[in-house]
């Protein structure tokens, strides 16, 4: 819930109005012409740069989150998943996931649930592989899944050395996205 903490203003009506005027945390916008698609995080930060955007389309944009710990080899694994979701390859994705992948305009690369480090901290190199889609990186994936309506929550145990596991509520599927 959006809120304002103030040590200056005491008028509660004004403060509530300010709280309501805060941009929502996640807002995906697309500008026309050649400008890159911009993912705005409230009024605080935007992740995007021209070299990460392959194609620019008008809104609405649909993105698919591929949550992997983005280290060297893992990006190839994430791309394999992405291509599978788009209908290339033979197995691994259910029909719902494959449909979502096929309809997506781009892909969020995430370094996985429970490990929300920026891209440059998790050893990310510039991709040597062609994704064929708009890409955003540097993402706390579970947050984005949550914001986009995905119902996941962190499990209390079963962490091991890998990423913290999540469970999909509708399918009861438990997953640890780190390969």
């Amino acid at each position: 819930m959006r809120g304002v903490v103030s040590t200056l203003e005491t008028d509660s009506d004004k403060l509530v109005a300010k709280a309501r005027s805060i941009p929502r945390w996640m807002e995906l916008t697309s500008r026309k012409s050649s400008a890159p698609r911009v993912l705005r995080l409230g009024n605080w930060r935007a992740f995007s740069s021209a070299d990460e955007v392959v194609g620019v389309k008008d809104e609405p944009a649909r993105f698919h989150v591929v949550a992997y710990r983005l280290r060297h080899q893992a990006e190839h694994s994430a791309q394999t998943t992405w291509r599978r979701l788009q209908g290339h390859g033979s197995s691994g994705a259910d029909s719902g996931g494959r449909r979502a992948g096929a309809e997506a305009d781009g892909v969020f690369l995430s370094n996985g649930p429970g490990d929300p480090q920026p891209w440059h901290l998790c050893g990310g190199q510039h991709s040597r592989v062609s994704w064929g889609a708009s890409r955003f990186r540097d993402l706390p994936g579970h947050r984005y899944r949550d914001c986009s309506g995905g119902k996941t929550f962190k499990l209390r145990f079963w962490t091991s050395w890998r990423n913290h596991p999540v469970k999909q509520l509708h399918s009861e599927e438990r997953s640890r996205r780190t390969p």
Binding site: M1, R2, G3, V4, V5, S6, T7, L8, E9, T10, S12, L15, V16, K18, A19, R20, I22, W25, L41, G42, N43, W44, R45, P116, Q117, P118, P140, R143
Partner: protein, 125 residues
Amino acid sequence: MQATLALEDGRVFRGKGYGAKGEWHGEVVFNTSITGYQEIFTDPSYLRPDCSSQPIPEIGNYGTNAEDNEATRPYIEGLIVREFSRASSNWRSQQVAEEYLEQFKIPVLAEIDSRALVRHLRDTG
């Protein structure tokens, strides 16, 4: 120093302010950890503008130190607690929590009914 938290649904909490002075906007979230507040301050998963609310009393009483940081700087925008300790007492403490937060211009709102705030956030967002 008086401080006020106003939520978008019209609920207002008034309490005492510590740390930096000013006005901060963000999304209010809560964490019910009993200890580990410094790790919460510096957890990069708070990288959106968050105000973290902790209902556990005596936040700040063991100070801060450089070894317990999860990142090079705090990621919360503000801290809301039931009770904030301005004194630290721990053999590992290197800096009082209030000084640490003030250094990064993070305000603290204390002495509010933080359990009511947590229940409110839990039920309504």
